[in-house]
Symmetry: C2
Subunit: 155 residues, 2 copies
């Protein structure tokens, strides 16, 4: 359904760790140790996150990583986009009209709107929620409110 690749999950784990200690600067090795993820993998993910501007880094001895901005300003959508590209919606319409049946279809567009709606929802979920740092564990109030509004709340 919503397929989150392992790498994206790892990214979230690492970002959550960094978010938990915003003042410190952690090395890839430290993050590997504390998360029990393989060092090369951690390194790879962090480099990707750095490329996409979610973390900032310091080179050399005493180097390391830290969040590029407060956790509240990092959204689930940004994490997804950083690790999995702009967003792999329905394949048909993604790269300039590759689909041979586009004319008779009309369905692709509908799926894309679903995708867009989801993407916008994910922009409301921040690293604070994902990392469980806020008071509430995770709060998808916005998304869930929609369901209750559109259909009678059950029980």
């Amino acid at each position: 359904m919503l397929r989150i690749s392992k790498m994206t999950d790892y990214a979230t784990v690492l970002l959550a760790r960094l978010a938990a200690a915003p003042e410190r600067q952690l090395t890839a090795a430290q993050l590997s140790a504390v998360t029990h993820l393989a060092a090369p993998t951690v390194s790879k993910v962090l480099k990707q996150l750095h490329r996409r501007g979610l973390v900032s880094s310091t080179l050399g001895l005493r180097g390391g990583y830290r969040l590029a901005r407060p956790a509240a300003q990092i959204t689930a959508a940004q994490i997804l986009d950083a690790l999995e590209g702009p967003m792999a919606l329905i394949e048909c319409a993604s790269h300039s009209h590759q689909c041979s049946i586009e004319s008779t279809c009309g369905v692709g567009r509908a799926w894309q709107r679903v995708n867009l709606a989801i993407h916008r929802s994910l922009q409301e979920i921040t690293l604070v929620e994902l990392a469980g740092l806020g008071g509430e564990p995770v709060r998808f109030a916005a998304l869930e409110r929609a369901l209750r509004g559109g259909r009678a709340e059950r029980a």
Copy 2:
């Protein structure tokens, strides 16, 4: 992001065709002709849809497929589930605690809740909307209302 496989898209296209002529019974060959999808592929998708109970079929000469129930009772979530399995959420927690870092993580659960919220939203979108048969083109009111509720409507 939300990765819909081609097969799922094809399924939607085929279901939309069937929904457009609920009284008729169409063969795989006819559907292939009208959608311009390769015959073997159409066949494969229809068989899968039959297995999952979304279409009913008649064997033999003058056989064919038709919707198993009214389009309004077939949801996007059902289509997704039929083609892509129960729902491939975050890989970690999907198959009984495979993840080695589950204890230190806590993030998987957050993603899963996101996934669940999306899944529930998709239960409110029916084939009628996907096929563009209703008066309105597609109506993700529920999902979009959430965004407007959580954040000031722009423009």
